[in-house]
Symmetry: C2
Subunit: 328 residues, 2 copies
Amino acid sequence: MPVGLNPDEHELLARIAHRSYVDARTQEQIAEEFALSRPKVGRLLERARATGVVDIHIDTPRGLDLGLEDRLAEVFGLRHAIVAPAAAEPAEQRALVGRSAARYLERRLADGQRVAVGHGRDLAALAAAFREPTATGCVFVSAMGGSPSVDAPTNPNEIARVLADAADGTAHSLYAPAYVADGQVRDQLRRQDAVGGVFDLAATAALALVGIGGTDDECTMVRSGCLSAAEIARLRARGAVGDVLGTYLDAAGAAITAPHSERVMGLSLTELRNIPAVVAVACGPEKPLAILGVLRAGIVDALVVDEPNARAVLNLQSGARADRAQES
Amino acid sequence: MPVGLNPDEHELLARIAHRSYVDARTQEQIAEEFALSRPKVGRLLERARATGVVDIHIDTPRGLDLGLEDRLAEVFGLRHAIVAPAAAEPAEQRALVGRSAARYLERRLADGQRVAVGHGRDLAALAAAFREPTATGCVFVSAMGGSPSVDAPTNPNEIARVLADAADGTAHSLYAPAYVADGQVRDQLRRQDAVGGVFDLAATAALALVGIGGTDDECTMVRSGCLSAAEIARLRARGAVGDVLGTYLDAAGAAITAPHSERVMGLSLTELRNIPAVVAVACGPEKPLAILGVLRAGIVDALVVDEPNARAVLNLQSGARADRAQES
DNA sequence: CCGAAACCTGAGCATCCGCTCACCACTGAG
DNA sequence: CTCAGTGGTGAGCGGATGCTCAGGTTTCGG
């Protein structure tokens, strides 16, 4: 029961709340009935809500924590944050994140929008769960190169195709590897019409859909053969915590620069920043630092993650803020 | 959890409800966020309420049953129905009803209103609990004669005085007995300025405050000496179930007529009907039929009763309706 | 006892919300 | 395949709501 309220006041608030919420009377009618002014009734109703005399409870589907999403969006300045319920099995967890991301994307897509598509198991899970959205005529474009095993479901081309199929739209594939030998080769490749044209389409997309990769030896880049274990180790040594479209970032959100960054066949951070909306999807226990780095880079507009990552990232960030506060 | 809702729909309703009720966003902002039209968001919120995804609970003070009040008001066409919580002890019950009635009257009184006042233990309890209302300059007028023991706290004069004191208003006393020998004496008395003037004041009051008397041998009329046990028994034999200002009614709400009705020194039912608002107060286990009769007479605008009576009266009425339905 | 500050109050106004209505897509029967 | 019926959708509008602000009252401290 509400505290700091005398019984008469409590009764009045309950009566007025009853009229308002149960009988759906207008504030004016209630004012009339209780011989009060209309604004006063409004204030009493507000007070009833504030003191808990009226308790509005929302039956959230099991596992969904909307407050957590709000905090995530607030702390990192995101437009949308979607937190999928926690799951015991990694595969199940990825499916849940994929499903959440799919529902989100279905809502978010607008007619005729072009979508730049990244790679990874999380985006593959999104694609697998994706159903026909309300929007029509959408175009899905690979935003980065592929891995040696070209038909793997985690390749951008494959993901773009699956999405286009489900959305009854079209797909543009990028026929290039994720990494080339050096910047010179990259520039040369991008000058090819078949490659550069797709890059341009991706760079001017209305929306980018990206995974967040890790820097462990089991990450997608290594498993798919895009990078060697030695290369990943070198990136780790330079402070890399994760990647977006092949560009690696440190924990502060800064890009790991040349020579590695010049070998990437994927939209750069600058190009990504020019896309109006970047949707990032991530899950898995190895990801908190990677997500943190990407969020701090300020390129992400919407984030879809599993609950453990959401909590972990928030803890890392608030810990960092506490540290800074202590220093000063 | 809500039934008949698929999980995706449930999640969407919960998300939208969260934005609306927790984050206090406007429907337009929500529509923007979820790529829906504004009316659609309104409909979804309505649906969320209907399906129980949002559950609005009102913390009612212990013992208060606002739904019961609503039914009472609905069934008998009352403007207000106030039900005081049930109590174990009769004295406690009367105090609770008196308190509820006092709070109600304090709210209801408007500046300068004249109030016609009846008698009885229930009104005495009201007067005892009465505190200064917001309205000022109110006038309290006895609407019926008194009992032989003139200073008893249940006499109209005494009740009017207490109310006037508390409200910082004025009181007009009626110096006449509740019953006289016959109609001739009554008319004669009412022609006296000191008596007739007060009657006129009472008859043109903005509000009447009446108790509902029973017809048992322990009723106020008998206990105060206004009527003898024999007289009450005769009234019972004629079908009387209760009284208002000394006028007895049967269970259908019709007045018991002459000769008894002509001996009353109190506002008649007709006079009462001309008063814009009649507030009746009643409590006690012997009262259900009396209350029923008075309510059926259609003179009452607002009723204050204890919970047992409220339930009993509703049961009696719905039983009667069922009977009539069965006949036809 | 007096002054000032804090609070509460109700008028006026801009915004928000629910309702009505015409329109359209989908469905099922002919 | 056609067409009436049904359920859902968004425009437009009038009423309802929340907010701001000036005025008045209470309650402190001096």
